[in-house]
């Protein structure tokens, strides 16, 4: 019940979770139980779009945890998201079975195309859902731990740290682009058919994935909230504001950082794993440095170090992106840049800051 206590005083989080609960129940009902002719019907397209936004929101929470509370501006969190996505993508590829273009019962199409004789060792086990789900969390977690341990032990901070996180995701992008890596090269993994034995195209599956995304966001939020309201969370803020002082009172700063960074990467991995079955594709573009920068902007727009602000920012900016790219397909990056400048200048504490101002005034 300490998890529930962690929500005390977090009005924004309470509101967010209440809305999430309502939406998580209503949307599937309106999609599955209300006839398509009714104005209340929610199309499967919309369900999937909303589900995708929710995975972005979870990713934003992960970023806010390290940026807002620990002061680590990670410009590489997209990498952890993409790794989670690839783990799920590999499972979905194996689920295709012999229904691929080449009809090979074990090898995914791209491997047949490359004349590979057998499945590479690292593809084994991914025919089981539980294994893929575990990898979607473990792989980002282990990478984040190793990366974090080395970087934090050498006391790399600030801009330098941000740059090497960019380098990390960039290097992974280049690696995943190569066919020899065995992840489908620049086409990535796609043409999925089933998940857990049910068709990915079915309305019920889409609703199920949406509910799973809502649930993951709620649980990820609560866990993050628990961390930031624990003493470890106060140590994190102490590190953010006065790192060396924190050392002098006896905290192993690099370990606290590595632990929270790793947890955050695992959250990002979960988000990626839920994202891929909904959008139906994962390719190296997800590692693009630009993606990681974009999600930092979501958090900046929502307001750092509030967690619920990150959720609001991710939902708002992505809704804006959907609308905007519908009207001016090529101008999104300019709009995003402009938004970032405006928020930095006029709303340094983001949407969340605006709301606390309201309450105070």
């Amino acid at each position: 019940m300490r998890i529930v206590k962690a929500l005390r005083g977090d009005t924004g989080g309470q509101v967010m979770l209440a809305v999430l609960l309502a939406v998580g129940i209503l949307v599937p009902i309106l999609s599955l139980a209300v006839p398509a002719a009714s104005p209340w019907h929610v199309s499967t397209y919309t369900v999937t779009l909303l589900g995708k936004y929710l995975t972005y929101a979870l990713l934003a929470v992960a970023v806010d945890l390290v940026w807002g509370y620990l002061g680590i501006l990670s410009l590489g969190h997209g990498a952890f998201f993409a790794l989670g996505g690839y783990a799920m993508g590999m499972y979905l590829m194996r689920q295709v079975g012999d229904r691929g273009v080449y009809g090979n019962p074990t090898l995914p199409d791209f491997m047949v195309f490359l004349n590979w004789p057998e499945l590479p060792w690292f593809w084994h086990g991914f025919d089981r859902f539980w294994f893929a789900a575990l990898m979607a969390i473990l792989v980002p977690g282990v990478l984040a731990y190793c990366f974090g341990y080395l970087a934090f032990r050498s006391r790399v901070t600030g801009v330098y740290l941000s740059i090497i996180t960019q380098a990390l995701t960039y290097a992974l992008m280049l690696a995943f682009f190569r066919n020899e890596m065995g992840f489908g090269g620049n086409n990535g993994l796609t043409d999925f058919k089933d998940i857990l034995g049910v068709s990915l195209q079915a309305d019920g599956t889409r609703a199920g994935l949406f509910i799973a995304s809502a649930l993951a966001l709620a649980l990820g939020y609560l866990a993050s909230r628990y961390i930031v309201s624990s003493r470890l969370g106060r140590v994190a803020v102490a590190i953010r504001d006065a790192e060396s002082r924190t050392r002098f009172i006896g905290y192993r700063v690099e370990r606290a950082k590595a632990a929270i960074f790793t947890f955050s990467a695992m959250l990002a991995g979960v988000a990626g794993a839920l994202y891929v079955p909904q959008v139906g594709i994962i390719n190296p573009g997800e590692f693009s440095p630009l993606n990681s920068i974009e999600l930092v902007i979501w958090v900046a727009v929502g307001g750092r170090a509030t967690l619920y602000g990150a959720v609001a920012g991710a939902l708002l900016v992505n809704y804006g992106k959907t609308v905007f790219t519908g009207i001016f397909p090529d101008a999104w990056l300019f709009a995003l840049g402009g938004l970032f400048v405006l928020v930095t200048l006029f709303l340094p504490r983001g949407i969340a800051g605006l709301m606390t101002l309201r309450r105070a005034g």
Binding site: L232, R234, V235, T246, F248, G250, R252
Partner: protein, 269 residues
């Protein structure tokens, strides 16, 4: 995993640093032949300096004498070029990093008060509190009744009871100094290094600080660096004068004040 197990500790498996402390010779801190240079400039020049168990020592010296640098070396912030620094007879401080030195029992108050500004006053004290500071125990830590009492006690000692719930950033300069002393008390270290504790304090506050530091004598060893001579006179038993990175004189306040070398340094300023 216990973060305190050290290389040299293979003889004492399972003991924390503080438990391996050996003070049978009644000397708590040994600084011997320490030299620190910054780009060729010697901030500490073959400095030797010893602190006994339970003693209150004042360190004075002109600006740039190396007083803060000496504390940096002891707390692991600066690694010296030469010399050695031991805590008791067995703990080599030069092998440890800052958190381990803190866990071994050395606390420090900085010349420029540094508190966690975003945290409330009680949270600052909570974070400084002695205890298991590894990641998992910290994640699940809850304040026990005893710990709460200890925090209340320290709040009373440093006179910040009414401010307990305020963010530390909102405190005045003097109050921050007090809070930092309070954080030292929460750490309950064997050795307290206190750099310019009364800067920015009123006369009354100074007197209370003097009382507080005197009350620590015996239970803790305290090294106080201070420029304010009245303050030093009010607490000092033994005074060490540093100049150009080395000890110039040591003795009672009277002896030191009448030492011609000291007079020369202070008049020549």
């Amino acid at each position: 995993m216990g973060g305190q197990v050290e290389r040299w500790q293979y003889l004492n498996p399972g003991k924390t640093l503080a438990e391996t402390l050996d003070i049978s010779h009644q000397t708590l801190l040994y600084v011997e032949g320490v030299t620190v240079s910054f780009d060729g400039f010697r901030a500490l020049n073959d400095l030797s300096f010893y602190v006994d168990v339970g003693e209150l020592r004042c360190v004075i010296g002109p600006n740039g004498a190396g007083k803060t640098t000496m504390m940096d070396v002891v707390t692991g912030k600066t690694k010296p070029d030469r010399g050695f620094v031991f805590f008791g007879q067995s703990i080599n401080l030069l092998e440890l990093d800052e958190p381990r030195i803190a866990q071994a029992g050395i606390g420090r108050k900085f010349q420029k008060p540094t508190v966690f500004e975003q945290h409330r006053v009680i949270e600052n004290l909570e974070l400084a509190m002695a205890g298991d500071k590894r990641v998992w125990p910290t994640l699940f830590a809850r304040l026990s009744g005893e710990e709460r009492d200890r925090i209340d006690e320290v709040l009373t000692i440093i006179g910040l009871n009414e401010h307990a719930g305020r963010p530390a950033g909102a405190l005045s300069h003097g109050q921050k100094q007090w809070l930092e002393i309070g954080m030292l008390l929460m750490q309950d270290p064997l050795l307290l290094l206190v750099d310019e504790p009364v800067a920015g304090m009123t006369h009354q506050e100074m007197e209370r600080t003097a009382q507080l530091l005197l009350s620590l004598e015996g239970k803790h060893s305290v090294v106080v660096v201070e420029h304010d001579m009245d303050f030093v006179r009010s607490i000092a038993k033994r005074v060490t004068v540093l100049n150009q990175g080395a000890v110039l004189a040591e003795g009672s306040m009277d002896e030191v004040q009448h030492d011609p070398r000291v007079v020369e340094v202070y008049l020549g300023e």
